[in-house]
C-alpha cells in the first residue's frame, strides 16, 4: 500500500515535468520545421507579470484583414501564392498561410508578442515605431506560426 502510494507520488511529481517538456518540445519542433517568412511590424512595449517585458506589435501582412465588425474564431491569411484574407476555411490553392482569429478588428495568430530584456525595451520599442523592425517567422503546413527572431534593419536584435 505504502509502495503504491509512493509510486503515485512519483507520477504526480513527474507529470508537470513531462507536460512542461512536451510544451517546450512542441514549440521547438514548430519553430524548426516551418517555412520561413519575414514580415514587418509596428509596436509598443508592455509587461507581463509571468514572462517579463515584451514588444507588442501589429504585423503588417500587406493586406487589411478582419474588416468586418465582428469577432471570428477561425480565420487565416494566405501568404503564397498571393496575399489574401479568408474567414473560416483556408482556400485549398493557398500553399503558405497563417491561421488565427479576428478579435476586436485585429488578426491574432499567437505571434503578437516578442519577449525582450527590460534594459533593451525602450530602444527596441523606438526602432519598432520607426518601422525598422521585422519578424522572422516559421510557418508549419497547417498554418501554425511561431517566431524565430526579431530583426532590426534585417539583422538580429541581439547583434545591436
Amino acid at each position: 500500500m505504502k509502495a503504491r502510494r509512493r509510486l503515485f507520488l512519483a507520477v504526480a511529481l513527474a507529470l508537470p515535468l513531462v507536460m512542461l517538456a512536451a510544451m517546450a518540445l512542441n514549440h521547438q519542433w514548430r519553430r524548426d520545421h516551418g517555412r520561413q517568412v519575414v514580415l514587418p511590424i509596428q509596436g509598443f512595449d508592455p509587461r507581463d507579470l509571468l514572462a517579463g517585458h515584451y514588444l507588442r506589435y501589429r504585423i503588417d501582412y500587406g493586406i487589411e484583414p478582419c474588416q468586418a465588425q465582428r469577432n471570428l474564431p477561425d480565420a487565416s491569411i494566405c501568404l503564397q501564392p498571393e496575399r489574401r484574407f479568408s474567414a473560416g476555411d483556408t482556400p485549398s490553392d493557398c500553399t503558405v498561410y497563417i491561421r488565427g482569429q479576428c478579435r476586436h478588428g485585429r488578426f491574432e495568430a499567437g505571434i503578437e508578442r516578442f519577449y525582450i530584456p527590460e534594459a533593451k525595451a525602450s530602444e527596441l520599442e523606438a526602432l519598432a515605431r520607426k518601422k525598422r523592425a521585422t519578424l522572422r517567422l516559421s510557418v508549419t503546413a497547417d498554418g501554425q506560426a511561431s517566431i524565430r527572431e526579431l530583426l532590426i534593419d534585417g539583422k538580429s536584435w541581439r547583434s545591436r
Partner: protein
C-alpha cells in the same frame, strides 16, 4: 494552548472529563507544539516568496544566456524540488514537504512563463493557467496543508473566469475590448462553477478541497451580490440580456440538483441555498426584478430599494443556513454584512433622512424581535420535549 487549557479546566470543573483525560490531552497537545501551525504557515510563506522571486528573475529575461541552458537549469531546479518532496515524504505529513509542494507549484507556473518567453508565445493567459491546473492537480492532491489547495483552487477559478470572459467576448460581436456585461456574466458563471465544485467535493467526499471550494464560493458570491447591488442601486442595468445567461441557467440547474443530493446540509438549508441561487440569477437578469434603462440618479446616491432588498434577502438566507448548520464564523460574517448593508441604507437615505431613520429603527426592532421569538421558540420546544419524556 492557553485557550484549550482554560476550556479543559472548565470541562473538568463541570465533571465532563476526569483529571487523567485532562492530563493526557494536555500532554498530547504540548507534544504537537514543535510542528505547529505558526511554523508551518511561515515556512510556506517563505518558500512561496522564493517561488515568486524566481518568477520575477525569469521575467527579467536573460537574453544573453542560450535558451537551452535556461530551459535545462529550469528543469534541473524543478527536478531537485520534486526529489526533495519525494525523499522527505512520509504519511504523517511534514511542514517542509508541504512548503516544497507550494514551491513546486509556483515553479511550474514560472516554467510556463519561461517557455512562453523563449518561444515568444502570446496565447491566452487562461490557457496557461488551465495547463498549470492540469499538471499540478495530482501533486496538489498529495498536499495535506491548505495553502497548496488554496493556490490551486484560486488559479483554477481565475482561469475559469478569464476563459468565460474571453469566450463570451469572442462569441459576442463587441467593438470594445472590455464589456461590463461580459465581465459580470463571467463572474456569475465562475461563482456557479465554484458552487458546483463545492457541492461535488461534499457529495464525493473530496475532503481536501471542501474548504477551498466552499470559501471561494462564498467569497465570489458575496462579491457578485455586492456588484449587483451597486449596479442596480445606481440604475446602471444594461437593457440588453447578459451574454451567457442561458449557460448560467444551466449551471444553476446543475448546482441546484447537486444541492438536493447533499446529505451534509439540512433539508431547510438546501431549500434556502436554492432560493438564494435563484434570486441571484433573477437579479442578474436585466428585467426580471429591475427596470433596465431607468434614468440614473445624480451623484453617488443610489435610491432603488429593490437592490437593498435583494442583498438583504441573500444575506439573511446565508445567516439562516449558518445558524441551521452551526457555522459560527459564517453566522458572525453574515450578521456583520447585514449590519453594513443597513448602514449603507442610511447613507443612501431613501425618501429623506427622517423616513430612513424610522425605517432603520423599525428594521432593528424587527431583528431584535426575531431573535427574541427564536430564543423563545427554542425554549418552548425543549420544554415540550421534556414534557413528552
Amino acid at each position: 494552548m492557553d485557550k484549550l487549557e482554560k476550556r479543559l479546566k472548565d470541562w473538568r470543573r463541570q465533571q465532563l472529563i476526569d483529571s487523567d483525560t485532562l492530563q493526557r490531552i494536555l500532554a498530547y497537545e504540548s507534544g504537537r507544539g514543535h510542528d505547529g501551525w505558526q511554523w508551518r504557515t511561515l515556512l510556506i510563506l517563505g518558500l512561496s516568496i522564493i517561488g515568486i522571486g524566481t518568477v520575477s528573475l525569469i521575467a527579467a529575461n536573460w537574453a544573453s544566456i542560450p535558451d537551452a541552458i535556461k530551459l535545462g537549469a529550469n528543469f534541473l531546479l524543478l527536478a531537485l524540488v520534486a526529489a526533495g518532496i519525494y525523499l522527505n515524504w512520509n504519511d504523517g505529513g511534514h511542514a517542509w514537504v508541504e512548503a516544497l509542494i507550494v514551491l513546486f507549484q509556483v515553479l511550474c507556473l514560472a516554467s510556463i512563463g519561461l517557455i512562453a518567453q523563449i518561444y515568444h508565445l502570446s496565447g491566452k493567459p487562461w490557457l496557461a493557467l488551465g495547463y498549470w491546473t492540469m499538471m499540478t492537480l495530482p501533486i496538489t492532491l498529495f498536499a495535506r496543508a491548505q495553502p497548496a489547495r488554496w493556490l490551486w483552487t484560486s488559479l483554477l477559478l481565475l482561469a475559469f473566469g478569464m476563459a468565460s470572459n474571453d469566450l463570451l467576448t469572442l462569441r459576442e460581436n463587441p467593438v470594445h475590448r472590455f464589456s461590463e456585461d461580459t465581465a459580470l456574466s463571467a463572474w456569475l458563471l465562475t461563482t456557479l462553477f465554484a458552487g458546483i465544485l463545492h457541492s461535488l467535493s461534499e457529495s464525493l467526499n473530496w475532503q481536501r478541497f471542501r474548504w477551498a471550494f466552499g470559501f471561494a464560493w462564498l467569497l465570489l458570491g458575496l462579491g457578485l451580490v455586492t456588484a449587483l447591488d451597486i449596479i442596480h442601486s445606481l440604475h446602471e442595468t444594461s437593457p440588453r440580456q447578459l451574454p451567457g445567461l442561458s449557460i448560467a441557467s444551466g449551471l444553476a440547474a446543475l448546482l441546484i440538483l447537486l444541492l438536493a443530493l447533499r446529505r451534509d446540509l439540512r433539508p431547510m438549508s438546501r431549500v434556502i441555498v436554492t432560493v438564494v441561487v435563484l434570486l441571484v440569477l433573477a437579479a442578474s437578469h436585466p428585467s426580471l426584478l429591475f427596470n433596465p434603462g431607468e434614468s440614473q440618479p445624480s451623484g453617488f446616491e443610489g435610491n432603488d430599494i429593490r437592490a437593498a432588498i435583494v442583498t438583504l434577502t441573500v444575506l439573511a438566507g446565508g445567516l439562516a443556513v449558518s445558524s441551521l448548520q452551526g457555522w459560527r464564523w459564517a453566522f458572525q460574517l453574515f450578521t456583520l454584512l447585514i449590519g453594513v448593508r443597513f448602514y449603507a441604507i442610511y447613507l443612501q437615505a431613501f425618501g429623506g433622512l427622517a423616513a430612513t431613520g424610522i425605517g432603520l429603527i423599525i428594521s432593528g426592532a424587527l431583528i431584535i424581535a426575531m431573535v427574541y421569538l427564536w430564543r423563545r421558540s427554542i425554549q418552548l420546544f425543549s420544554r415540550i420535549r421534556e414534557l413528552a419524556r
